[in-house]
């Protein structure tokens, strides 16, 4: 009996790993989001942890040199793909502003294309869709949430998430937690409040809204704190983790004394109520546009000998943070590249901004630059080597602000001076950089994916896709892509074949090992 149970478990495990799935198309359910099968990538990060780490191991450090093009999909339009694809029931969904493509994950064949041009709102980029049951959720430049039927791209409903005429727009991939679609907003050009809104996936009704700052016009208070990147979720603690953006006005702090909560902050919210459970501000009183929206990566491991539920962020302001995600207490704060804007770190682990490094009429030399030491591109946590691997951007810039610039929107000017790209593998217990891999001048927009077999997939500043050895950063495979890489790779296994998907420019590339006869 015991043996039979074992045997059955083994069969089930095999079935879970093999494909195609035996069941007909089901869409996304809670179990899939909690335990994504190998033939899926059902949310932005692949799973709720934000680790962008896959257990797949068909492609190994030994055979990756044989990696070859399985297919490429041309969007035939100029906007660069900045989205992370979803994969559900063998179909990929990826986006640019106003556009969604549904594409066969085996062949790259287009199944449908949703193209709904909008004339309002910023078209700066788009990060992708979310899925619940058979429904997709897509945010538009004019700040609507559109729900579509995944099978044919027809629109179910459309609800306004924010008022584009006030200066909001939306770009992010929503996060589905239970029966909540969590949507964030963008808008740095006006003094408006950031928020996260929870929306009913069936009806489009608002369930709750959490605001980053007091309402615009509150004396001596910041606005801003946009919520433009997808958060992560711990189902055991029932907490959603989200990073908030910089305060507005952006480059002057004169009208907003103090820390400017909850801008530049990692917040833990109850997804059912929107109630703030804890927060940790990574950029108090920011005056350099350093959003703290970079992925809050959830890791369960030991920290100096003690088992911990951690949250890690390589933040745009140049610091790497490790928090206890049960309560928001800081475990580690350490810079992971050149940082010159702080007076150090306080006892609670917050960087202390140096007032002398606020933008000034005659300029201040600042590291990192406005794009930050990293940005929206995903890092990856390599569970095997205990490494937090991030596409970093050591950089310098000059920041200006003067009274004539006012205190609305940007309120100053800043200019990049110099920068480069480098993959850094950070030891999460010390912040020490275990290995690094140079990516070239200016920097790369590519995110990072790691696999259990010991591979790190990313891209360099010149448009090469790279596969690195996760243990030492050595290059094992590369392919020139012909454009800038501005998204984070994903991987999945279909028909016993592992694919690695990564975009460059307006093209989606699928790589795999050669098919055996």
């Amino acid at each position: 009996m015991k043996f039979l149970n074992l045997f059955l478990s083994a069969v089930c495990a095999l079935l879970a790993l093999s494909s195609p799935r035996l069941l007909p198309a089901q869409g996304v359910d809670e179990q899939m989001l909690l335990h994504p099968p190998a033939d899926s990538w059902p949310e932005y990060h692949g799973d709720y942890s934000g680790r962008r780490h896959s257990k797949l191991s068909q492609i190994t450090p030994q055979n990756v040199k044989n990696l070859t093009l399985a297919w490429a999909f041309q969007t035939d339009q100029p906007a660069a793909i900045k989205s992370s694809p979803l994969l559900v029931d063998g179909i990929l969904y990826f986006t640019v502003p106003d556009n969604i493509w549904a594409v066969d994950a085996r062949s790259g064949h287009q199944i449908w294309h949703y193209n709904a041009p909008t004339t309002q709102g910023d078209h700066i980029g788009h990060r992708g869709v979310a899925m619940y049951k058979g429904y997709l959720f897509f945010l538009t430049p004019d700040a609507y949430l559109v729900s579509l039927n995944a099978k044919d791209g027809t629109v179910r409903w459309k609800v306004q998430v924010a008022d584009v005429t006030q200066g909001y727009w939306t770009t992010m991939a929503p996060l589905v937690v239970k029966n909540h679609v969590l949507a964030g907003v963008s808008g740095d050009l006006d003094n408006i409040t950031g928020y996260i809104r929870s929306i009913d996936p069936e009806t489009g009704a608002t369930q709750w809204q959490w605001n980053t700052t007091p309402p615009a016009g509150t004396p001596n208070q910041a606005t801003g704190g946009m919520t433009w990147m997808t958060g992560t979720y711990d189902p055991d603690l029932n907490l959603v983790y989200w990073g908030t953006g910089n305060p507005t006005p952006v480059l002057t702090g004169s009208t907003r004394p103090g820390d400017n909560l909850y801008t530049g902050t990692i917040v833990a919210l109850n997804p059912d109520t929107g109630k703030l459970v804890w927060f940790f501000q990574v950029s108090p009183h920011d005056t350099h546009d350093w959003d703290a929206v970079e992925i809050p990566v959830l890791v369960d491991a030991t920290f100096h000998g003690e088992p911990k539920k951690m949250l890690m962020q390589a933040s745009r302001n140049g610091y790497f943070f490790v928090l206890d995600r049960t309560n928001g207490k800081n475990l580690l704060t350490v810079p992971y590249g050149p940082v010159n804007w702080s007076l150090g770190v306080d006892k609670q682990g917050h960087p202390i901004p140096n007032p002398a490094k606020e933008p000034a009429p005659d300029g201040r030399l600042i590291a990192p630059d406005e794009g930050g030491l990293t940005n929206f591109r995903s890092p990856s946590f390599d569970t095997k080597n205990g490494l937090f691997i991030v596409d970093a951007h050591p950089s310098w810039s000059i920041y200006f602000a003067k009274p004539a610039d006012g205190a609305y929107g940007w309120a100053g000017a800043d200019y990049d001076v110099w920068g480069k790209g480098v993959i850094e593998a950070i030891d999460y217990q010390t912040g020490k950089i275990r290995w690094s891999h140079e990516l070239g001048p200016e920097g790369s927009g590519a995110g990072v994916l790691t696999t259990d077999s010991g591979l790190t997939f990313t891209g360099d500043a010149l448009g090469n896709f790279l596969a690195l050895d996760s243990s030492n950063g050595k290059t094992l495979w590369h392919a020139g892509s012909g454009s800038h890489i501005l998204s984070s790779p994903i991987t999945y296994q279909l028909d016993d074949r592992q694919f690695v998907l990564t975009s460059s420019g307006g093209v989606m590339f699928a790589f795999a090992l050669p098919e055996t006869q």
Partner: protein
């Protein structure tokens, strides 16, 4: 990197590629000099009247600008996240009916991170109308406005800057006030001069490649990643090799500027700027 030499190399590039020339000339001239401002702005009564555009065309351009351009250039075209202030752009000032702006929009500026936008003639015309209108508005606006003026960059001490130049900064190792930097402040002013001082973005590195045969080929470094090294040789031809097949040595004296970033105080930067501005 010798700034004079980099200028000469740029001149060569101008001949090579009209697209690049547009990119480079514009990149150097984001901020009009005081002279240009005086001509277009303060002395407006003697300068030609700025062209005006039909309001509906400007409105169309405004909507399109908001959609595609505002994230980087600011919603009012006065600069924002990563993009320059277009109301102070020489390229815009010199533009006639989109002859400068159109190609930049359609080709992008890959070297500056600006994407290209496929836009119809009508759409370009509306963008041009909006950008010029914003520039006209900015230049006629009374009082201060956003951007970095030459007068903002006068807080340094000339003598301290000279000492830094000859001493701690190590600038004199490569540069000379009577040589390559002679008259530099006449050629470049304000923010443009300061940006060049901090890091000469368009400086080209030299590279010498040694083939397995022992033959050595020198040229201007055109491309380098982990896998390929490419140069333009003395005949103007592009040649490349797999990095694994050759040895190569890059001479990039401009990297000395990178070494300085972590050593500078803000006072050092302002003082050095004050000193350079005396080299007229």
């Amino acid at each position: 990197m010798n700034i004079l030499r980099s200028t000469l190399q740029r001149t060569a590039l101008l001949v090579l590629s009209s697209l690049l020339s547009l990119g480079h000339s514009a990149a150097q001239t984001q901020t009009p000099t005081p002279k240009a401002q005086a001509e277009v702005g303060v002395k407006q009564d003697v300068a030609p009247m700025p062209k005006s555009y039909p309001p509906d065309l400007v409105q169309k351009g405004k909507a399109l600008f908001r959609q595609d351009c505002s994230f980087c250039h600011g919603r009012d075209a006065t600069g924002g996240e990563s993009g320059p202030d277009l109301t102070r752009s020489k390229l815009v000032t010199a533009d006639v009916d989109g002859n400068n702006i159109g190609p930049v929009v359609r080709n992008g500026r890959p070297d500056k991170g600006m994407p290209r936008f496929d836009r119809s003639d009508d759409q370009i015309a509306s963008l041009v109308a909006f950008i010029h209108t914003q520039q006209n508005n900015a230049l006629t606006k009374k009082g201060g406005r956003k951007g970095v003026d030459v007068s903002d960059l006068q807080t340094g001490n000339v003598e301290a800057g000279k000492q830094f130049f000859n001493g701690a900064g190590g600038c004199a190792t490569c540069h000379s006030p009577t040589g390559d930097l002679s008259g530099i402040a006449s050629r470049h002013q304000g923010l443009e001069l300061e940006e060049r001082m901090l890091y000469p973005k368009h400086a080209k590195s030299r590279v010498t490649v040694t083939l397995s045969s022992g033959q050595m080929i020198a040229g201007t470094l055109e491309y380098l990643d982990e896998f390929t090294v490419g140069l333009v040789d003395s005949s103007g031809s592009y040649r490349s090799w797999r990095t694994r097949d050759v040895r190569y040595k890059v001479e990039a004296p401009e990297n000395a500027h990178v070494e300085l970033f972590s050593k500078y105080t803000d006072d050092d930067v302002h003082n050095l700027m004050a000193y350079l501005q005396t080299l007229r």
